[in-house]
């Protein structure tokens, strides 16, 4: 065999929906030759005990992530906006249904 067939199987990220009404949650990753095999492997690896009702697999190279270096510029602006939370407003305390 020559060329790509001998290469390592690519990496896939696995997301499992634990039950109806819930979102898919990242469960882990695995190697597989293609998406179909990744789904089969994900079923064997991450749902041996009824952990899920649906699986997504995504090629790891297709995940685009924010960088930890940008953490401050991305998430700090939210820290100084307490008025986005209902607890910021106290004038309505004691008034029913508010």
């Amino acid at each position: 065999m020559s060329g790509s067939p001998t290469a390592e199987w690519p990496l896939w990220e696995v997301f499992v929906r634990p039950g109806r009404g819930l979102s898919h949650v990242h469960a882990g990753s695995l190697h597989a030759a293609d998406a179909e095999m990744a789904l089969g492997n994900a079923r064997d690896l991450y749902t041996r005990r009824g952990e899920g009702v649906s699986i997504w697999v995504v090629a790891s190279t297709d995940i685009h992530a924010s960088s930890p270096d940008e953490k401050d510029s991305l998430f700090d602006p939210a820290a100084d906006k307490p008025y986005r939370h209902p607890t910021f407003y106290t004038a309505s305390e004691g008034v029913p249904n508010l």
Partner: protein, 335 residues
């Protein structure tokens, strides 16, 4: 950057060798605050290397650990026991895969880890270099070996490295089935005919000391422990965990109607713990150094399985490439 996976390089861990000053201080802050380090955070090179070593050794142990039990799948005493044993061995494979994935988030490549194991360069738990001559050994492995593993692994669910801790949570949930099924095998034998009872006792005699040695050398003799505890990867010392394990075993052995092969084992009311005899660490070192009964056999078997599976891996990749090419072609045709 792709999620939690740094592009793997065969040269070793990806990323800068040492964190910047701000990276180091944020690492120290997270560790001090008992938080979790996540894959793309800056971390000291030693921390990364130490984790890759520990996680990959742990993964190798799970993979090699399939062999002593796999040995009995075809000869399990009933279809019921056989189904259970297959599920257990499948779990061990799964545990190995969770752990390899966790190591990959640190920049280690799966291929390199696999090659190190096949070349006999990688370490795995020396317990798996002991043979399983009787069915009772399967019970003893579940009760003692998986029991020791649980003792070791429950604190690792709080390890400071996120992906490792998450893998351990999954593994610990599954291990408790392993330990209980081992206990059940031994209890059934212990309550059976005198010959069956004897079989169970002999297996416990074989596995007791090696399982105690699974916690690693005594604290005074364990060079990596202090660092690992400062980094909050490890939460308890080898000797603390070993003591905890012995304290748990004594009442369990009584429930089994079996004895633990240690004449020095007795309750110490002053300490509130069981005292137990010295372990033969020369044996531990010899097995670790490759002189165990099955070291050669285990690695050779793994190598053979890997070689015999090569055509499957290659065929799957060829099939995937062909399918992708066909899809591309039909997309072009449709355009």
């Amino acid at each position: 950057m792709h999620g939690d996976h740094a592009p793997a390089t065969s040269a070793g861990p990806a990323g800068p060798a040492e964190p910047s000053a701000s990276g180091q201080s944020s690492f120290d802050r997270v560790i001090a605050g008992d938080g979790r380090i996540e894959p793309r955070d800056e971390m000291p090179d030693d921390y990364r290397k130490s984790l890759i070593r520990q996680i990959s050794q742990h993964a190798h142990s799970e993979i090699i650990g399939m062999q002593p039990e796999g040995n009995w799948i075809t000869r399990a005493p009933s279809l019921h026991r056989k189904a259970i044993l297959m599920a257990k061995v499948q779990d061990e494979a799964g545990h190995g895969l969770y752990l390899y994935s966790a190591a990959e988030t640190l920049g280690a490549s799966r291929e390199d880890m696999m090659q190190a194991l096949l070349a006999g360069k990688a370490r795995y738990s020396s317990i798996f270099n002991y043979p399983t001559p009787t069915w009772a050994d399967i019970g003893a492995i579940g009760w003692l070996v998986d029991g020791a593993a649980i003792c070791n692994q429950v604190p690792l669910c709080r390890a400071s490295y996120g992906p490792y801790a998450r893998a351990m949570i999954r593994i610990c949930k599954e291990e408790s089935f392993h330990q209980r099924q081992g206990f059940e095998i031994l209890l059934t034998l212990s309550r059976g005919t005198p010959a069956q009872h004897e079989l169970a006792q002999e297996a416990v005699n074989r596995w007791y000391a090696p399982s105690l040695m699974m916690f690693g050398p005594p604290d005074a003799d364990s060079p990596n422990s202090a660092k690992s505890m400062a980094w909050k990867i490890k939460r308890f010392s080898n000797d603390e965990l070993r003591q905890r394990f012995v304290d748990m075993l004594v009442p369990q052995a009584q429930a089994l109607g079996l004895t633990l092969p240690d004449p020095d084992l007795r309750w110490n009311a002053e300490r509130g713990h069981y005292d137990f005899g010295e372990l033969d660490w020369s044996e531990f070192k010899a097995v670790l150094a490759g002189q165990g009964q099955c070291n050669v056999q285990r690695v050779e078997h793994r190598r053979r399985a890997h070689t015999e599976g090569a055509w499957v891996r290659e065929a799957a990749m060829a099939h995937a490439a062909k399918k992708a090419a066909r899809q591309q072609q039909s997309a072009r045709g449709a355009a």
